[in-house]
Amino acid sequence: MSNEFLSIEDLHIHYITQEGTVKAVNGIDLKLNKGETLGLVGETGAGKTTTALGILRLIPNPPGKIMDGKIILEGRNLLELSEEEMRKIRGKKVSMIFQDPMTSLNPVMTVGEQIAEVIEIHEDVNKEEAKEKAKEMLELVGISGGRAGDYPHQFSGGMKQRVVIAIALACSPELLIADEPTTALDVTIQAQVLDLMQGLKKEFNTAMILITHDLGVVAEACDKVAIIYAGEIVEYADIESLFASPKHPYTQGLFASIPSLDEDVERLNPIKGLMPEPTDLPSGCRFHPRCPYAEAKCSEMDPKSVEVGAEHRVKCLIYSGEVSGKGIENE
């Protein structure tokens, strides 16, 4: 408990539109300790970004709404704070790095101004000091401080993401949420940016939630992993245990769909079918229409989260003994 920094309990977030209610996040539970990195893995539309925005209470409203749940940061439930209290947390205690660096920076402000702004808001400094600090931050992410007066369009994508990182880390946040920080970048730049984040994270002892659909990135950077499917966490484990023995059929499917250098496989095994429409989720286990081990019960019963090892939980009826799961690999 003493070590527990962030705890999300039973979070539900819906988008209410004319065409129907999109159930983006459906009862997510997560825990994160100080300095730890949690990987949040899932397909596009699984609810990863919504969860992240939910933590900062930045869900666009309307149409988005946090329906239920708790987000407890150091003992305080963020969902009960006033807007002003919440504002003081954003950028200071919790910051976020967004997916697309091309659009994340304000085109009419210099990068220096944009970094200095967050410092001015949260720290007791004057304009000059904030400017100085902004330059230091730029140097820290590997950009010459002399470029503080340049505008975003004068930087490349990778450089912009460095600026975004500088903004996010300027006030030494305790939690950094990185939403697919490398997806929009060239492969060669991806590793650089990831290394940079890793290094800075250690330096500042920041906890991190790393959102990604790339298991390779997870293996490299995370301590814990949560696999998210249709707005639910279907499997949660520490990194070793997940990579050693993935339990949930969906997780196993994810592993089967990445090419391996060690094994000589004829072809990849993608998960069949598509993510369900979030306006029309299947009954019972959300994954059952795509699950190779599904039985009749899977469409009727809502699986509960079951402990299958030390800090390894799975939401699947096979592991609660309701369904046989014949043929599932399980060592």
């Binding site: 504002r87 954003r90 200071k92 697309d100 304000n106 085109p107 009419v108 808001i121 505008y151 903004i167």
Partner: protein, 308 residues
């Protein structure tokens, strides 16, 4: 940047040549002889022919146009058929009144339109938004001359608060500038709102919020500067509509500007005055647009660096 301004100024030359060509060409089609107009009904055909020769009206069109441009460059747009005064002076005399009216109307439009658009956008889907949008829609749908007459009816005739014609005091400016400015106010309101709504959805606004920037500053600093970029273009274009609308407004309020001069001259077939009025307004409009384009570069660094 200087290079860009210079280039744009140079580009004005062919545009102005084009404008004079079009206006001269259109006016050339006017039936009837200006010489007859000048000499009156009793003139003999010989007298008319003599005057036409003197005025150069018997020369081919292109020569006449060439002379017109040549003299125009020297500030000589001919003399009024009626008053015989130099046209350039007549238009220049009236010009400040039109400019005053247009600037007052534009000031109203900008000072009301931009804040109204911002409020409407930030309160999207509320009553305030709906009311603003309905008013703006009515504003763009009202004929300017009708609005002028209705304002006269209410504020001059019935309430007796404001004068209905003339231009001697600042009180005289109120009704005409409201009349002329209303549709631009409505258009700027609508444009600001939609541009603001577009910008508010952008990722960098989310970034600003994630930084803990207070909502007021998110709107007034981060969103507004970006949202203003297209609004500035609209303001520039609206200035053209204002100069056009000024013709009607001046006619309603007997405002002694270029527009009224032009209408009076059309009725008297005083073609040199009509031509000079249109050319003058077109030049003003082009200069305003040039100024807007330069202003643009100051708001949007992306454009500025394009021209460096």
């Amino acid at each position: 940047m200087h290079k860009y301004v210079l280039k744009r100024l140079l580009l004005l030359i062919p545009v102005m040549l084009g404008v004079t060509f079009i206006v001269f060409g259109i006016m050339h089609l006017t039936p009837g002889s200006p010489a007859r107009l000048k000499l009156g009904e009793k003139a003999t055909p010989e007298q008319i022919a003599a005057l036409e020769h003197e005025m150069g009206l018997d020369k081919p069109f292109i020569i006449q146009y060439g002379n017109f441009v040549k003299n125009g460059l020297k500030g000589d747009f001919g003399r009024s058929y009626l008053s015989n005064k130099p046209v350039f002076e007549e238009v220049l005399d009236r010009f400040p009144a039109t400019l005053k009216l247009a600037v007052a109307a534009m000031t109203i439009a900008v000072v009301i339109g931009i804040p109204a658009g911002i409020i409407s956008a930030t309160k999207q889907y509320t009553l305030v938004d709906s009311v603003t949008m309905v008013l703006a829609l009515i504003g763009v749908s009202m004929p300017v001359f009708w609005l002028g007459l209705m304002l006269i009816l209410i504020f001059s005739v019935n309430l007796g608060w404001l004068p209905s014609s003339g231009a001697s005091t600042w009180m005289h400016l109120i009704l005409p500038s409201i009349t002329l400015g209303l549709s631009s106010t409505a258009i700027i309101t609508r444009m600001t709102r939609s541009s603001m709504l577009e910008v508010i959805r952008q990722d960098y606004i989310r970034t600003a919020r994630a930084k803990g920037v207070p909502e007021r500053k998110v709107i007034n600093k981060h969103a507004l500067r970006n949202a203003l970029i297209p609004v500035v273009t609209v303001i520039g274009l609206q200035f053209g509509s204002l100069l056009g609308g000024a013709v009607l407004t001046e006619s309603v309020f007997s405002w002694p500007g270029v527009g009224k001069l032009m209408i009076d001259s059309i009725k008297k077939q005083d073609i040199p005055v009509v031509m000079a009025s249109i050319i003058f307004i077109a030049i003003t409009f082009s200069i305003v647009n040039l100024a807007v384009d330069i202003l643009y570069a100051f708001i949007d660094p992306r454009i500025k660096s394009q021209y460096q």
